[in-house]
């Protein structure tokens, strides 16, 4: 009474192609939107910045930059020029330093990437530890642990950073703030970033574990003689982790935003400090580049998450060629 239904491989390929297309569109729109915001801001910011006596640019430099950006041309032409450069990977020249924006960004990138990745790993560890604790500890301790994520979420990022600096930097001397790139200092900077990011992740994990633990299959697994720890590890963890994958991808945005504050507080050089300086100086080409870079990272991470969920969850059957038994 069984016959086979084969799901075509092209299902997954179509998903990949459509998601890629959407990603490219998002990045394009992010660029255009940022460009428009920058251009229509009151008081021709680029010209102001160029003629700021403190910029230290000579008249020739200014003329070169004006010609490069087409600042004497209408906004639409400027946009088309900028787009043309953008697709070839040329992000323009910084108004503040006169250096190519690409160089500035790529100099700042490694430090921020390292910070963000460390923070992400810490956030995952924290979130999983909290969720596991809530489910396996006795009810009293679990109850207290359950309220930890909302506490994490309610404390602003900079307060956590300042508390960590004053306790571990000044009082306990675990690290010195004059060496922001030392491993221990990096750890605390990452922790500052990780704590608020771990909270929503822990919330999602806890609630999906709650849901899964109430499912019949958990009861049936226990009736098969599995211990609570085994039921948790072998049965509940994987289905509960699936919603978290999407959540992690969404939290990347949080991570990028948090990096600006954290780097400033800890005095690290990175994309965050670059943004801070550029905002102060009205260095629009750099800001534009950072916005687009963030968009690219966000789109890529979400793309990976979108594409990996069907691979992890057998129920979304676009995965691979499968045989279904139907009776």
């Amino acid at each position: 009474m069984g016959y086979t239904v084969s799901v075509r491989l092209s299902g997954y390929r179509n998903l990949v192609l459509s998601r890629l297309g959407q990603g490219v569109l998002v990045i394009f729109l992010a660029y255009v939107l940022s460009f428009i915001v920058v251009s229509v801001l009151p008081g021709d910011a680029i010209t102001n910045a160029l003629h700021d006596p403190q910029s230290g640019l000579s008249e020739e430099d200014i003329a070169r930059i004006v010609a490069f950006y087409g600042l004497d041309k209408p906004v639409l032409i400027q946009l088309l020029l900028a787009l043309g450069r953008f697709v070839t990977g040329d992000l323009g020249i910084s108004l503040q330093s006169g250096l190519p924006v690409t160089d500035l960004v790529f100099d700042a990138l490694p430090s921020t990437t390292f910070l963000a990745l460390t923070a992400l790993i810490l956030a995952l560890v924290l979130a999983v530890a909290i969720a596991v604790g809530v489910h396996l500890l006795p009810s009293g301790a679990a109850g207290i642990l359950r309220s930890v994520p909302s506490f994490f979420l309610s404390v602003p990022n900079f307060v956590i950073g300042l508390v960590l600096i004053s306790v571990f930097g000044f009082t306990l001397h675990t690290f010195t703030i004059t060496e922001p790139n030392a491993p221990v200092a990096t750890f605390f900077a990452a922790l500052t970033l990780a704590i608020p990011v771990s909270a929503p992740l822990a919330e999602v994990l806890i609630s999906s574990l709650d849901v899964e633990a109430r499912q019949d299959y958990a009861l049936v697994a226990r009736s098969r003689g599995l211990s609570r720890v085994n039921v948790f590890a072998q049965h509940l963890l994987k289905p509960s982790a699936l919603p978290s994958v999407t959540m992690v991808a969404l939290l990347i945005g949080e991570l990028l935003g948090g990096a600006v504050i954290t780097e400033t507080i800890f005095g690290r050089n990175g994309v965050g400090t670059l943004v801070q300086r550029s905002v102060g100086a009205g260095d629009q080409p750099v800001l534009l580049a950072v916005v687009v870079l963030s968009a690219v990272v966000f789109v890529l991470v979400n793309l990976i998450a979108d594409l990996s969920v069907p691979l992890l969850d057998p129920r979304t059957s676009v995965t691979k060629k499968k045989k279904a038994v139907v009776s």
């Binding site: 499912q215 019949d216 009861l219 049936v220 994987k238 057998p314 045989k323 279904a324």
Partner: protein, 560 residues
């Protein structure tokens, strides 16, 4: 049946005495006692809230932690299961005590292959080698009649049908050769033909492996057919216990008698006197419902699903027509087309002589007034935030029936018709029982004085005694307002009770149709024959006894 025999005490598998269970401070099971012998089957019978599932969870130590609390004795292999720690219970679980859950669709982890979960059961046999375990699993799958065991092993749960999944679960439960299997409504989520196969399989395994079976069910007919002993429960207390034949032939308590009288398969003629015979057998487009070669396809050419593939039937005014079929038969799609939620790919539907497929949007209003739908699940079909008055008035307000005052009058009228008093007007669904909810749903459907009611499994979510009350009410309403019913159901026993004519659907086509009497007494199509023979009904002599004794409380109008 307490202390039946000392000589058989060695066969005694499970002895429950003085079992009390609390959820918090709320006692849900009181002083329950029964015993089960090796190789025998005992059924715990009761309606929802009777505590039957709670009893089995208490015995297996699976009450929700921190909430449920059990006291008393459940002696199994010399140990009181209720006094054992979770660790102590684990030595019995799976190996000695097997558990088969109600809904096979949710009883396996959806993101793991069936094979990987089967190894959990196989490791209970003491075999540690992975290959040997797999051999055992494949053998067990074969034993329960699963075709292509290897493919089942490699599959994920969503790739198998409900019947196959229940076989998998039975195979895994039986694999470590437990002495006792607890089966909690093991077939209530399955189609009737699959139900019979699964129960036959359980019977066979029980006798061949000398396993004791503790069966939890709300279905008395099924319990009578499949078990040796019955324990009738009500509100956590034993009402009556004894051998199945004793209880069926001579129920001692009023409750057991009522329960037996309400089972459709034991009382096929219950509503027969209420309706006259159907004389006119010719089909007209003027009939209340006339469906002509209706087709509904889904999907594109390569993956075309022919949900409904040429269905015709007609329903005479004032009669009840039943659309019968198992899941996937197309009965729901057919109904959705009649009520206008789905557009036919081809074919025509007439309501009282008017071609529904040619209607303009404006005409649809009139059609809606004529034809109303009562949904399957009254727990989901009523907006929990609305009062009963607002729920019943909704169609009146939507189709602008009279003035506000007239609408209010109509709401009270129709509420009285379904047997609810005015104190219900301000209540919300959460304050109503299942039967009361379904009465409100019927009142809502009746408020516009429709001519036709489509009843989509109107009682399948209700207990059997509540079901009987609702069917009584529907019979009264039909007689008083000469309503036409289109009754969708998978429950053949119920259909036999209430329908005048029947269409049996399978895979999108009507395989057989005719009067209820003809279909049930002289089914021609082999599928109809299988369906009818799958209905758990009683042993013939028992049925007679029950009928003679059943109190005649038809149309008693008792409020559910």
């Amino acid at each position: 049946m307490v202390n039946q025999s000392h000589t058989e005490s060695e066969d005694l598998l499970l002895q429950v005495d003085g079992l009390n269970v609390w959820y918090g401070s709320n006692q849900v099971v009181r002083d329950v006692h029964f015993q089960l012998r090796r190789g025998q089957a005992l059924a715990l019978i009761g309606e929802s809230g009777s505590g039957k599932s709670t009893i089995t969870k208490a015995i297996l130590g699976l009450l929700p932690e921190g909430l449920g609390h059990a006291e008393g004795q459940a002696i199994f292999e010399g140990q009181n299961l209720l006094k054992l720690s979770q660790r102590g219970l684990r030595q019995f679980r799976g190996t000695e005590l097997g558990y088969i859950p109600q809904d096979p669709g949710t009883a396996l982890n959806a993101v793991r292959t069936i094979g990987s979960q089967a190894h959990e059961a196989a490791s209970l046999t003491g075999v540690t080698d992975n290959k040997e375990q797999r051999q055992l699993i494949l053998q067990a799958f074969e034993q329960v009649g699963l075709p292509e065991p290897q493919r089942v092993y490699d599959s994920y749960p969503h790739q198998l049908s409900g019947g196959m999944l229940q076989r998998v679960l039975i195979a895994l439960t039986v694999l470590p050769r437990p002495a006792l299997i607890v089966a909690d409504e093991p077939t209530s989520a399955l189609d009737v033909t699959v139900q019979k196969i699964i129960l036959d399989l359980l019977d066979e395994l029980r006798t061949s492996l000398n396993i004791g079976l503790l069966l939890i069910t709300h279905d008395l007919a099924l319990a009578a057919q499949r078990t040796d002993h019955l324990v009738v429960l009500r509100q956590g207390q034993v009402q009556e216990s004894g051998t199945s034949s004793q209880i069926f032939e001579n129920p001692q308590t009023e409750y057991a008698r009522k329960l037996l009288a309400d089972v459709p398969s034991l009382n096929t003629e219950r509503y027969r006197d209420a309706r006259g015979p159907l004389n006119d057998s010719s089909a007209h487009k003027k009939d209340a419902i006339y469906v002509e070669d209706v087709v509904r396809h889904f999907g594109h050419s390569a993956e075309l699903v022919k949900a409904v593939d040429g269905v015709s039937f007609e329903v005479k005014r004032g009669s009840t027509h039943a659309l019968v079929g198992e899941s996937g038969s197309g009965k729901t799609t057919t109904v959705r087309m009649i009520v206008g939620l789905e557009t036919p790919t081809a074919g025509r539907i007439f309501l009282s002589g008017q071609d529904l497929t040619k209607r303009s949007t404006k005409d649809w209003r009139e059609a809606r007034r004529q034809l109303q739908l009562v949904y399957q699940n009254p727990f989901a079909s009523l907006d929990p935030a609305w009062s009963v008055a607002k729920i019943i008035a909704e169609p009146l307000a939507r189709l602008k029936y009279g003035s506000r005052a007239q609408q209010k009058v109509r709401v009270r009228e129709v509420l009285a018709e379904v047997g609810l008093d005015e104190s219900f007007l301000s209540r919300r669904p959460a304050q109503l029982s299942g039967g009361q909810r379904q009465r409100v749903a019927i009142a809502r459907a009746l408020s516009l004085r429709p001519e036709i009611l489509v009843l989509d499994e109107p009682t399948s979510a209700l207990d059997v005694s509540v079901q009987a009350d609702i069917l009584d009410l529907l019979a009264v309403l039909q007689r008083e307002h000469s309503l036409t019913y289109l009754f969708v159901s998978h429950d053949l026993a119920l259909v036999r009770q209430v329908a005048d004519t029947v269409s049996v659907m399978r895979r999108g086509v009507v395989v057989e149709s005719g009067t209820t009497q003809k279909i049930f007494e002289n089914p021609e199509h082999s599928y109809t024959q299988t369906l009818i023979s799958s209905v758990p009904s009683s042993r013939g002599d028992v049925t007679q006894g029950v009928q003679e004794q059943s109190p005649s409380h038809i149309y008693a109008g008792a409020i559910a």
